[in-house]
Symmetry: C2
């Protein structure tokens, strides 16, 4: 153990007991892979949810290989402390936010693409690989990794798997689960298991891969993933449609489905979000001022034919539809969509909600979210992965307010209740984390909730992993 690390451990641990615990981790890990320096810990204990747990974690383990992860879990068991697993810390539900008494296990240093097989159309990656980097590597080989959360440029594949991340291409290519063939997982006991396989099909044993995907770091620590790659689409056509009203845009998406169109991307931004993006980027189509924006992409061998149908359908409701087969234009439009969150963050503090409803209830959901905002006196902006029925109402709070006011929390609660009333879910793709735990019990029936708890106890009997999250 280096002197620097030892010194840091001592500085962070005033009490004898905490010092002993920190020392146990420091000794169990290679030099430089443990810190209890308060500044370091503070830089690795929050995510992007805005949730700040009380107190400071005991320290941060910077895992670089599987043995480090095993060592951390074994020491945690011996020392009877809990472990909060962390990738890039881009989560939006508080899953990686850590407080007093826990140890942060940062796996972002496990960041190699171990294999990329064109013949088998798969990659074997470590959890800390940035999702966009994996896709870029696949594209360089003539393939693609379709799951594309809006955070792809900053989030890790491990975090994406832990939350079963969605994103922009799910209607056609599925969520993260559909691209994960197998996992290497360190169980809380320190044992390593291997789930799934290198084949697309396989039914030997229960689907443990699916159980770990979306388990938010509560069942085991993902240290490797075999992910499916897909052929690069032959062509992509982008349609930018502008509508006078949100219901008109939602109706147009329903009409697309009825016409048999399966868009690769279908992103909706309400008019005020469009204005915020334009204010940030200085861009914007002058013909589209105060319009609701719908970005649709078709791809594959039939991209043009599918876009023909889509364009005709959209034109029935839209004020304007622009079409492009040009990659730069498409990229610029997608960048505008990705700029939505930064644009709103300039306006104030944001509470990002993430409900999903059956497609037939989407128009009602969008309308009632607006009503909830008006009644509560809070600003709500709406983005949607609209073909999935996945709505992100974003509550923006005046930065002058000292903290997020009760009326904003109350509006969020009403949005959750609305999702359940419409037969949907309180979280489409961000995870339960800590912020939606109370609502999970409302979404699941008691017997199902109980079974979830029993599964967690089976995998993690001592309750070591990411306590107080997901369930």
């Amino acid at each position: 153990m280096s002197r620097t690390v030892r010194a840091a451990a001592e500085r962070a641990a005033p009490s004898g007991e905490a010092a002993t615990v920190a020392e146990a981790f420091a000794v169990a890990l290679p030099v430089g892979r443990w810190s209890s320096d308060p500044a370091v810990v503070d830089g690795h204990r929050l995510d992007r949810s805005g949730w700040v747990p009380v107190g400071r974690p005991l320290g941060v383990a910077f895992a670089r290989d599987v043995a480090d992860v095993q060592a951390v879990l074994r020491v945690a068991e011996t020392q009877q402390v809990t472990v909060t697993v962390r990738g890039a810390g881009t989560g939006l539900a508080g899953g990686a936010a850590a407080g007093a008494g826990t140890v942060v296990l940062d796996v972002s240093g496990l960041n190699r693409i171990r294999e990329l097989s064109v013949d088998d159309a798969l990659a074997v990656v470590e959890p800390g690989v940035i999702t966009a980097d994996l896709d870029a590597a696949a594209r360089a080989a003539g393939l693609s990794y379709p799951p594309d959360p809006a955070s792809a440029a900053i989030s890790t594949i491990g975090g994406n798997i832990a939350t079963n991340a969605g994103g922009l291409r799910c209607a056609k290519y599925g969520v993260t689960r559909e691209s994960v063939l197998g996992l290497d997982v360190v169980l809380p006991s320190g044992e390593v298991i291997h789930t799934g396989r290198r084949t697309v099909k396989g039914v030997a044993g229960y689907d443990l891969t699916g159980l770990f995907v979306g388990s938010e770091g509560t069942l085991g620590v993902i240290v490797g993933a075999t992910v499916r790659l897909r052929p690069l689409p032959r062509a992509t056509v982008t349609l930018a449609a502008f509508f006078d009203t949100l219901p008109a845009a939602v109706d147009a998406v329903t009409a697309l489905a009825a016409a048999g169109v399966v868009p690769a991307v279908a992103e909706l931004l309400d008019a005020r979000t469009v204005a915020a993006v334009n204010a940030l980027t200085g861009g914007g189509d002058p013909a589209a001022s105060e319009a609701v924006f719908l970005l649709v992409q078709t791809d594959g061998f039939g991209a043009d034919a599918e876009a023909d149908v889509a364009q005709a359908v959209l034109a029935e409701q839209a004020r304007l539809v622009r079409r492009s087969s040009d990659a730069a234009t498409a990229q610029a439009l997608l960048e505008a969509r990705r700029a939505a969150l930064p644009a709103l963050e300039r306006l104030g503090r944001v509470l990002i909600e993430d409900i999903a409803v059956p497609r037939s209830r989407l128009a009602e959901a969008a309308r009632r979210v607006t009503e909830i905002g008006a009644a509560a006196g809070v600003d709500i902006y709406t983005l949607a992965h609209v073909a999935d029925g996945n709505l992100h109402p974003i509550i923006v709070v005046d930065p002058a307010e000292p903290e997020i006011p009760p009326r904003a929390w109350a509006a969020a609660e009403q949005i959750f209740a609305l999702a359940l009333e419409l037969g949907g879910t309180v979280t489409g793709e961000h995870g339960v984390g800590v912020l939606k735990r109370r609502w999970l019990a409302a979404e699941l029936d008691p017997a199902t909730h109980d079974l979830q708890r029993r599964l967690r106890s089976t995998l993690d009997p001592a309750g070591t992993l990411t306590p107080g999250r997901a369930l």
Copy 2:
């Protein structure tokens, strides 16, 4: 309890204890939903694997609703007998084959399509619905249910879910798992839980849906399913390609993938299987005699453009490629593929294997299966869902042999070993059942196998459900 049922129960139960057990089930169920008549029991205790367990089950419960399933599981718990769940009995791995001491729970009577929503693109079905009937109902509404096991006309959706059935359209549309949004499940305790949701996205809680899909009746009894429907493809193009050798055909499929083609169907039949099919149907393309047959379909808006590319790629290796956009021709070719198993069953008793290997190892797998057959002196015919790497070597045994000879079993064992050696699985889509249990331990590492057992114990602590199967 009707006199007939009571009489049957008495006839089947010579010992006082068995009579008491049968009586308990008969009393707990509505009239006509229990039988221990040996003739009835014998008609409901085997599947299509050819495996015959020792002894006769205590009786058969013919469930018509969820309450019947609950009643059976509660009586089983009280009486300490096991329950073997059964749909249409078309399984190929012995999962539904039942012997002495168990009770058969037949859920084929739960056979209603409860809902078919065009707007939400989903159906809510009971487990006994025949898979092809669900697809037909979806098609009548302008949608489709893509999972298409070769048995679709005779197997149930519940059985498909229990084995995570694959079939002909997986390369593009995924296996059954990808089409199941949620499940209603009766746990061994008799409690009903609801997993998943009506939305495509949703990450509230662990993926219990995925855990039950493919669990082969060992974790709970599926009594309802919410399944995803997809738009009917705009167009379908069928290519029938004939090759001189199996490696040439496999190479052509690899070349399709490299060209970015994602076939909706890619079915391979070796030359001797083609000959058997032609002998059965009296058909066959004279230009294709003694050829390996590859059936490729493209579909969607780009069906024609994708078929153009596919046809050019196939033509590089094939003796002949025929193309059709005509639905009747496509249907006839698919029927020829579906006739393969009946055609082979005319030749003798069949052992149907079901390995999957990484795509890059498929040519080697096919070649070595042929070598295994030659060395063992057994006839092996090969079909493949070739784009998935899923190979069905079918061992055909002379019907004059009194039973399946040791050399046939030995060849099967060598095929399993081959699958694992090539990084594949001993079962791509049929399930472990009873026939592959020994090989499951070889495929899974001990820690993973142990976790599977612990999960099973968590869900079914008394070991009531389908004992001796799947694990």
